[in-house]
Symmetry: C2
Subunit: 257 residues, 2 copies
């Protein structure tokens, strides 16, 4: 069983406060992931895990300093400053996971990933070998070069679908700061599949066709297209990460086509 | 002009003192590299630079903790501990280079490199794009997975010939702690080419065919095979890094075949 778990930037840090960490959440995530590993071990089932985290309050404020009208400038300094900020954040995440005996290792995308127009150059050779050894690759959002003479932020929302597709992931988990995909009345839509996908996507855009849900439209569409079981759930609630990892969480389940 | 410069572990740190840094050398390297960049700029010549550094006193003592009879053990903890130690070292090196306005960026091999029996999987896409933008990739020694269910140390001596070959490097510089390749009387051999390569290689092994020069045999052989102009020189001496970068240093020049 290969599970990919995305820890959204907003549940790991306060985006309004640069370099802040939600330590209570981070510690809890470590504990719950450890408990889920024990659950699989007791059942004699193999669990392979990949963790993805975004830039949170570390990557965003530093990246912003170097953005002018959507283009990165002064990257002779900026590339390293963004790399270093993300290393700090990633170090804190991985050290905490190790405190709970999770064999986490770091994958720093800026070292080798290139953003192309409709795809990524992202060699997975090392990640595959690390998974064979039961290590837990922790891939973080990062600054990367593109093929158009500039730079791009590679976010968790880029990394998740790429890895899910390429690595034959069995279950894709998005721990976010909402309870799932909400309908017009604010209730969680429990299941999205071919019977309601069109209605849901329509609902997630307003009358002008603009995504009014902070990226939820794209998340749902990407998840549906992947054809891999995906659960969007609230990572701020105690027990949810554990329950998600054992396949039993309240949220929105997306069954792709 | 693309130059690759290897800063040997022994000139950056004291190998006998874990986590030590030779700050005087490191600061001087920053200053001399900056001066060499100015030299090329004034001549209106383009200089692209890649820097490689080994594990020094950061990587080695931590890696040693996890080695038993030449095999790595307990790498559920060890992989990250070695990664983290190398990140600390690499952060110090890159921060110092930035103090001298050298646009250094980090390449962390453990994220994507795989050691194979006779070769490496080492995707250079991002490094090539970084060079196009006149950034200076700093590649460090690191722990990497191999294709044989274990792990290996990827050292500067692996990275240098690989990058030199694959990136069409014009000049390959080894800053070490000796004045060059020494003959039987302790004098520097100024030039090694096809006229004396066999004699030099013979001299570098003792009567039993064992390399008695701390890896110099392998360095000379690798450099000669590559067919790229290589200079082995003493990085501890003031001015040598600058002079090497402008192609004018005292040491051993190897002209390959």
């Amino acid at each position: 069983m290969l599970i990919i778990l995305k820890l959204g930037g907003s549940i790991l840090s306060d985006k309004n406060t640069p370099f802040s960490v939600k330590w209570d959440n981070l510690e809890r995530f470590g504990e719950e992931i450890r408990n889920a590993m024990e659950y699989y071990k007791e059942k004699n089932e193999k669990l392979n895990l990949i963790i993805v985290h975004g830039g949170g309050s570390f990557g965003h404020p530093v990246a912003k300093k170097y953005l002018r009208d959507g283009k990165f400038c002064n990257m002779q300094k900026g590339f390293w400053e963004i790399q270093k900020a993300m290393r700090r954040f990633n170090n804190l995440v991985i050290d905490t996971l190790h405190f709970y005996d999770i064999p986490a290792v770091s994958i720093q995308p800026s070292s080798f990933v290139v953003f192309k127009k409709d795809s990524l150059i992202f060699d997975l050779s090392a990640i595959k070998e690390l998974l064979k050894r039961d290590l837990v690759p922790v891939v973080h959002g990062d600054i990367v070069v593109d093929d158009d003479d500039n730079y791009k932020i590679l976010s968790g929302d880029h990394i998740l679908p790429y890895l899910t597709k390429k690595l034959n992931v069995d279950l894709s988990l998005h721990a976010s700061d909402v309870d799932g995909v909400l309908d017009e009345n604010g209730n969680v839509i429990e299941k999205i599949d071919k019977s309601n996908i069109d209605d849901v996507l329509k609902m997630l855009k307003d009358s002008k066709g603009i995504d009014v849900t902070g990226g939820m439209y794209l998340k749902v569409m990407e998840a549906y297209k992947m054809g891999v079981k995906t659960i969007i759930f609230n990572g701020n609630k105690r027990g949810n990460i554990y329950n998600a990892l054992i396949g039993n969480v309240m949220g929105t389940v997306i069954i792709g086509d």
